[in-house]
Amino acid sequence: MTIERLADLLANTNPGFFILAAALLLPFARDVASRAILMVGGPLVALVALISAEGLSINLQTVQFLGLELVLYRPDSLSFVFGLAFIIASALVGAYSLHRRDALQDSTAMLYAGAGVTAVFVGDLISLFIAWELTAIASVFQILAPRGPESARAALRYLVFQIASGMLVLAGICMYVAATGDTQFALIAPSQAGLPVGVMDINAPGAVLILAGFGIKAAFPMVHNWLQDSYPRASETGAVVLSVFTTKLAVYALARYFAGLEWLIWIGAVMTVFPVFFAVIENDLRKVLAYSLNNQVGFMVCAVGIGTQLAVNGAAAHAFAHIMYKALLFMSMGAVLYRTGTTKASELGGLHRTMPWTTLFCLVGAASISALPLFSGFVAKSMVMSASHADPALFVVWIALLFASAGVLEHSGIKIPYFCFFSHDSGKRPQEAPFNMLLAMGAAAALCILVGLSPGWLYQFLPYQEAAMEYLATDLWTAGHVLQQFQLLVFATLAFMLLQWRRWYPAEKPGLIMDVEWFWRRGWPVMARAVGKRARKAGRVVSGAIGAVGGSAQLAARQVFGPEGWVAANVPLSATAVLSLAILGVVLAISLFA
């Protein structure tokens, strides 16, 4: 292959395909060096491909499929920043995972990453759906990786949500395509003044279903609990890779189709606030991070809803920064889990003595997520805050975001590092994290600081570059802006010190915090049994026959779906996943041929 052909291949191929290729080769890699080449080298090749893309907002790679033109590669300034963050995170996750060899987990993690990167660079709804579903299937293996009964059940629940989301999106796409005939982004979301972000009319056929599907992936309120249920049960590396892709892919999709949709402002505002309260009382620090993730995605969803250039820039910048610092925080907790076997605050404390590098990197992540000036969170979140403050009609939203900012400091800025590495001495003296973990954490920490110190580097990649540069020149570093943010953080930290001194800070206690999952894990079975009992009684009174049929149906349903039914108890999850995939494929095929 000549140099020209290689350069042409790199410039015109979706970068995600290089990571997918590395994922497929990974099971055959036997030694650390070849694994490192694939797990870090794959994303690096993808990065080179992205940088050398032949142009933005043009279809660079297309195929004909069942009479439709699928756009496999169409980078633009919205997808660029998300794709860049995904690729960097893929390389970090690759480096972070090198200490242990688990071919299935490693290759599915790469598959997940590759599908995520592919999804942001495709240019039509069908390709987006396929890549999106590949992320759903591949990600389940990250939750299954610990190979325990708890993680298996959590993976099953996770899969239900992911498949439900996929079904909604698929149904929405079918309705939309049937009504309009358009599948390509460029046609569906016509750019505003040549800019990449457009709007899908929410009244268009299928648009609400597509939004609902995206909403599940973004963990909208009341459908958020799959996130807190599953991520903390993943392996130390699985939680890191999970934190990067699914929810941010949903933010990207929302920004792509629904920027400016007012519903999202309020949904986002609620998302920022409610996780704060759960995070305060949660004992498992990885679950705290899962709530924190919910809260941070809320900022992005809110910004997408506001929909101005500043707000969309804020959503994209926040996504980039968040991917780095949240991955860093999950990595530090992963290192603690790997060395101590737990991330429960009540069992930890004092780990800084023997894990100072991990402590230091965790503190950088904590400073970043708290939006301390000179760290990445500040330069990203500031745009969202400014965009909400700019509109007097959004005063309540701004107050909610301000409250959430203080909440972020509480749960991620202070609680995570304090209860894990400082606080009371748990007596645990674990070894420092393995070198590869430290390397990945160090790189992520360096990025958090680099973006904080030199925001222009990130701002040049944002969807509305001119607006971003103007914000950098006139607003970001103003005395008022920086001083107010420092005030918020200093006084909130003071509140923490005083509450600790007065012993008013609730102690970390072991236990399970009930959330909306109660409805489907306890409430729904109880309600189903109660309704079934009453239905049987009513059936007997009204008509023995109807009652008998109802009873039989219920008995049959119980045998299939009940606690000891074959669906629930003994079916291997891999088979369930394959079955779900098959159903998806059949529905897709029917929809396309119909």
Partner: protein, 107 residues
């Protein structure tokens, strides 16, 4: 073989980086010093805002120190809400495993 000496700073077996960066935080005076430093810095920040970034006060949100005061009370509210919420929502670790009716479990 020489007898192992008690380190001047830190603890036996403590990582040198931890000794350098964090061991002084365990001093008995640290919490008081840190708290007072926060108070002094906070007041200075409000003063600096009033001096360097004063705006006509059209609403309470424009007042110097608003974000500091808001941050203090928002943080305290979030933390203190943990007491009633913890009582209301905390259950034993195996809460869902024992009687949940979920896959593979008996009632």
């Amino acid at each position: 073989m020489s007898e192992e000496k008690e380190p001047v700073l830190g603890e036996p077996g403590e990582h040198p980086l931890s000794v350098l960066l964090f061991s002084w935080m365990r001093a008995p005076w640290f919490k008081a010093l840190f708290t007072w430093s926060l108070i002094v810095i906070g007041v200075a920040l409000i003063g600096l805002e009033a001096w360097l970034a004063f705006r006509p006060i059209k609403a309470v949100t424009y007042a110097p120190g608003f974000q500091g005061v808001f941050g203090f009370f928002a943080f305290a509210f979030a933390v203190l809400s943990g007491w009633p919420l913890g009582k209301m929502l905390r259950r034993p670790e195996g809460y869902y495993d024992r009687r949940s009716g979920e896959a593979g479990r008996d009632d």
